[in-house]
Each structure stands twice: as C-alpha cells, then as structure tokens.
C-alpha cells in the first residue's frame, strides 16, 4: 500500500505530501527528498530526446529494504513520488501506473480550479480524498 504520497513542484519544493502515520513521518519526507535526485537523473537521461518522447511514468526509483519508491513526472515537471511498502509484493507495475494516473487526474482537477494558484500547497479536499483512498485501498 502506498505509505506516502508526495507531489513535488517543478522547483523541487513539495506541493503536497502525506503519509500514513504509522511511524515517523520524517523518514518518509527524507526518502522523498532523496528520491528527487533519482528523478532528476532519470529526467535528464531522457531529456536529450524531445519532451514528447519522454515517458511520464518513471518506474521504480530505488528500493530500500522496507520500501520501494516510485516516480512519475508530468509534462510540466511536477513530480509525483510514491513510497510503497515492500511487504506488499502483490503490487504490480500496472497498479502503480494506474495509481499515478489517478494522481495525475486529480492533480489536473486541482489545477482547473481557478482559485488555485500554481505553486500553492494543494488543499483540495477532493485531492485529499483521492489520496486517502489510494493509501487505504492498495493495502
């Protein structure tokens, strides 16, 4: 199950970060932060080609013994990072992809709200609900 979900802005500051409060959240924040480097690395590797060819789903960024970290980048360089519990081995790539797709859709819905200024923290309840469902459902 998704233990932590984070939305990082283009400038690498978090727009939204949420984790299941089972243990110290700081650890997840740290993991997300370190994973940004990996994300950048992957982006730059693909960056030589035109942007269109770059795939949004980055896949497994790096595994630790307890967790796996997956990444996803939008065309506007907004990054979604998801930390998943390693114990849940049944999680397939497809599922992760679908989760990211849902995240992306919700994110665009947030963007559509004219009262949302890009760069603000995401405070949309709909987004929260979606993330909650994701964190619970996948487990």
């Amino acid at each position: 199950m998704a233990v932590c979900v984070a939305v990082i802005a283009k400038e690498n500051y978090p727009l939204y970060i949420r984790s299941t409060p089972t243990e110290n959240e700081l650890k997840f924040h740290y993991m997300v932060h370190t994973s940004l480097d990996v994300v950048d690395e992957k982006i730059s590797a693909m960056g030589k080609a035109l942007v269109d060819q770059r795939e949004l789903y980055l896949g497994l960024l790096y595994p630790t013994e307890d967790y796996k970290v997956y990444g996803y980048v939008t065309n506007s360089k907004v990054k979604f990072v998801m930390v998943v519990d390693s114990s849940n081995t049944a999680l397939r790539d497809n599922e992760i992809r679908s989760m990211f797709r849902k995240l992306h859709n919700s994110y665009t819905d947030v963007m559509c709200n004219p009262f949302y200024n890009p760069g603000d923290r995401i405070q949309s309840r709909a987004f929260d609900n979606m993330v909650t469902s994701m964190m619970i459902q996948v487990c």
Binding site: D109, P114, F115, Q123, S124
Partner: protein
Amino acid sequence: MEAAAAGGGCGSGPPPLLLSEGEQQCYSELFARCAGAAGGGPGPGAPEASRVAPGTVTAAAGPVADLFRASQLPAETLHQITELCGAKRVGYFGPTQFYVALKLIAAAQSGLPVRIESIKCELPLPRFMMSKNDGEIRFGNPAELHGTKVQIPYLTTEKNSFKRMDDEDKQQETQSPTMSPLASPPSSPPHYQRVPLSHGYSKLRSSAEQMHPAPYEARQPLVQPEGSSSGGPGTKPLRHQTSLIRSFSVERELQDNSSYLDEPWRITEEQREYYVNQFRSLQPDPSSFISGSVAKNFFTKSKLSIPELSYIWELSDADCDGALTLPEFCAAFHLIVARKNGYPLPEGLPPTLQPEYLQAAFPKPKWDCQLFDSYSESLPANQQPRDLNRMETSVKDTADLPVPTQDVTGDDKQVLKSTVNEALPKDVSEDPATPKDSNSLKARPRSRSYSSTSIEEAMKRGEDPPTPPPRPQKTHSRASSLDLNKVFQPSVPATKSGLLPPPPALPPRPCPSQSEQVLEAELPPQLSRAPSQAAESSPSKKDVPYSQPPSKPIRRKFRPENQATENQEPSTVGSGPASAATVKPHPTVQKQSSKQKKAIQTAIRKNKEANAVLARLNSELQQQLKEVHQERIALENQLEQLRPVTVL
C-alpha cells in the same frame, strides 16, 4: 424555580433573577421550545430529548435568535441583552442566560434601558411577534411561540444570526411605532411575513432584510426607506431589487433561509432568477459557460476566503473543466450565499445542487426577462431615494473589493452586457463610487442585481461620452471649420481689447466695444446657416459694413465670420470694433442690455455648431486611425510571413 436555582448556581453569571410565577412559567416554556427546537423540531419534545450535553440544557442559538428577533427590538439592544445575560461569555444559552435575556427583553420593550438593574423590578412579560414559515402571527403571549428551525451553531454564526436578527428587527422596527419614526401600517408585518412564500421568498423578512453587510449603520438609512415601502406586496420585488442592487455581500439575504426548514441547499425560484441574471451578466449565453478566471473574479467579491472559495468551486464544478455552466454556477453561487449566511460547507455537493437536478428542476428561464422587466417598472420610482444610500454602501463595499475584481461582475444588467465589455478596460481605476454612479444607476432602472456597484460606476463612466476634444487650435486642417474660426475670431478682439479672455469656443463676454460684434452675429437665420454659407455671404458683405454705418448692426455679424474664414489678421478685426465703438457709442449702449441675451444665445448656437464640427472631425479622425491600424496589422502580417524565411 429553575431560574432561581440556575441563577444561584452560576455565581459568576448575571445576578440571580427573581421571577414571578407567570414569568417563570412563560420563560420555562419558551426555553423548552427553544431547546426543543434545537433537536431538529421533532414535535414538542421534552427538553430532555434535546439536551446538548448531559446535565445541561441549552437553547440552540437559532431558535433563540429568532425568538429575540421576534421581540422586535433593535439589533443593538439584542446585542446588549446577549452580552448582559452572559450567553456570549459562556457561549451558549443556558437557562440562566435565557431567562435573563427574556427579562431584559421585557425591560427593553417597556422602554427601560438594558441594564441588569432593570430586571430587578417587576416587568410585564416580553412580547414576541412571531413570524414563521407557517405564517402564523402570534401576538403577546410568548407561550404560543414556535421554536424556530434554524439550525445554526451559535458560536460560529453568532454574527450572522444577529445580523439576521438585526435585519428583521429593522424591518419590524419600521413597523413598530415605538421603534421607528416611519409610519408603516402595523398590519404590514404579518402580511409581509406571510407573503414570502407566495412571492417565492421563503423567508421574506430575512431575504429582504439581509441587505446588511457587516456595518449595520450603513444599512440603517436604507432600511427606513425600504421599510416604508414594505407595506405592499408590490414593493417586495422592489425591495428585492434594491437588495440586489447592493454589493455582493448582500446576496446572502437571498439564500439565507430559503429552505430553511429542512434543506438549506434548495434553491428557490427567486434565487434562481437572481443567479441566472448574474450568470447572464457574466456570460450572455445561458447555455454556454463561464470561464474560470471570470468566475474567480466574480466570486472573490463575496469576500470569502480563498480556500473556501476553492472548495466551493470543487464542489460545484462537477465536470472539473475549469468552467461553470449555468447549473454549476447556480450551485456555486448558492453555496457561497449559504456560506456567507453561516452554513458550514457540505462535504459533498448536496443532491439539490447537482447540475442534473438543477437543470431538471429549473428549465431554461426565458421568463426571467419578463419578470425582471416587471420588477424594474416598479424600480425607477424608488431608485432615487436610495441612490445616495446605495452609494454609501457601495462605497463601503467597493472599498473592500480587490481591484482585479472590477473587470467582471457587478453589472447584472442584461442589456448592458455589451457595454460591459467595452467598459471593462476602462474599469480598473474606477473604484470609488461617486454621485455619478447614483445617476448612472438611476439611468438604468432595470432590476440590476448589482453584485457590486463599482462595475456599474466604472461602466457608466466608460460609457460617458469621451472628454470633449481639446479645444482645437486656430489653424485647422479642415477648411470647413468656419465655426471654429468664427468662434475664435470674436475672442481675439476681446483679448486685444484687454477684456477677460474667454475660452476659445466662446464669444467674448459682452463689453461695450465687443457687444456690437456679438450683437451683429445674433441674427438667427444667418447664424444657423452653414459656415460655408456664411463664408460665401461674408465676402459680399465685407465692404458693406464700412460703407454703411447705419446698417452695421446687421452687417457686422458677417465681419467676424468673414475675417475668420479668410483668416484675416486680428488687426482688422481689432480695428473693426474700435471703429464701431467710436462711431456708434450711444445707440449701441441702449441696445446692449437687450441684445446681450441674444448674444449669449448666439454664442450658444455657435458653440453647438462648433461641437458638431468637432464631433464630425473626431469621427473622421477615428476612421483614419482605424484604417491606419489595419494597415499596420496587414504590414505586420506580411512581416511575419516573411520572417520565418530569414530567421532559422
């Protein structure tokens, strides 16, 4: 019994009450009603059933607020009462507070000052004028009161509830002889309160009265004229309109308790109309949608916080497309109004606000126009007394509005939609209301639901004729501008002769030496002739004046025109008046006074002609400007087409 015990129990509260038997009975009954109603109105439930917390019985703020409102006391008094009785301090209406409050109400109604000391003496029972959805009016005996159904948490909506109270009190004030200087028929309140349903106001009293934004004082002068007109049903739509004319914050009134009874999320007909008209003001086509930025500016005027607005948007934009269709817009509007009235925002979009439901429930309101027109007929007559007040409130309201919200909203006049677009670019700097705005509002008597008057002011200003073209110089490219020269010419001698220099377009003020010239120009038929004709005629008469002194008064009028068209030196003109003055001092003096008026008239005529010419000129120049613009655009296009070839 209860009161004494409760009074003794809370030592830190208001001083212990001593209630008579009758009072105790009344108060306890009232309290039971208020507390009972707090439970959602499940019949005359026992107070125990509605205990909010074990061991304490509190009366819900909503019923209490309504009860106080029914006492017909002014808002300030009710505020004082609430404070004195300690409800504010403890945050709820316990028995003690409630009884003290009732006692204070009785005191206030008896004309005593609202003080703790007042309640120590014997007082009659407080009187409550009931006004409920059911329309029953009870006078006198509070025991007949019904609990109200407003379920509003006291703390969070204290202000709102008291505002509503105030509004209604003000409304009722105008009818209660003790409170109001206005002589409204006392029977109007019942009628007034009963009518709401028939008019589509679920709560007319609240709807019409909720015209008050935070500052009550601003509304005070308003309420009175409105109260006076509240007598008849015909004025209710009027009031509705005037309320609509308020700033955005006023919209609360409409929603307020519109389905008050069970569903605050139900949109009434009136609200629907209002929303639709607002929609139209933003977007002429009802089947199209409003873009996000437009809607954002509009809703920002409601002065709700951005997160709340964001949430409301989330709720109402069902398809998340960043634009609002008409049902979505109505839902959003409704939510905003509800929020402003203190209702907490729902977790999800209520079923009655779903777009499908709204579309089904309310077919495309083509009839809005007619209704509005019918409303508007009654408006114009009453616009004037309100203008100033409206201005004041609009000033206060617009002061709060962020500047960027100017460019949309506020102008709900359907007819003026097109002009809104024109006026938009001119809006930004025109925030504060001016007397002009009231005039502009008068000029548009249609029922305008002004979400903000600033837009109309700005619009009106934008629509005002552009500033008159600057006084043209003497030399003009247009040869036909005889008027100008003709107009200028007289002024030259004036300056030459040392008289006060009139503005270029005006003939010189009559003076002994000048009056002749001006008088000469007075003959209407000749003056009304086209400048060209004057020019033609002038050369022929040029020599005449000099040779025929007796006929100078008639002929000389051409001299100025003459010299103007031919651009003769001022010296000739200067010599003219000088000679004229010397030749005929006496006869002219006698005629001066009578002819001065004519001179002025001719001057006016000249000015009008000058204006006409200038206007023509202006339009021609504008056309030229457009052509030049088009050329420029064409050239730019060409450039762009050529450019990619060169740049790569």
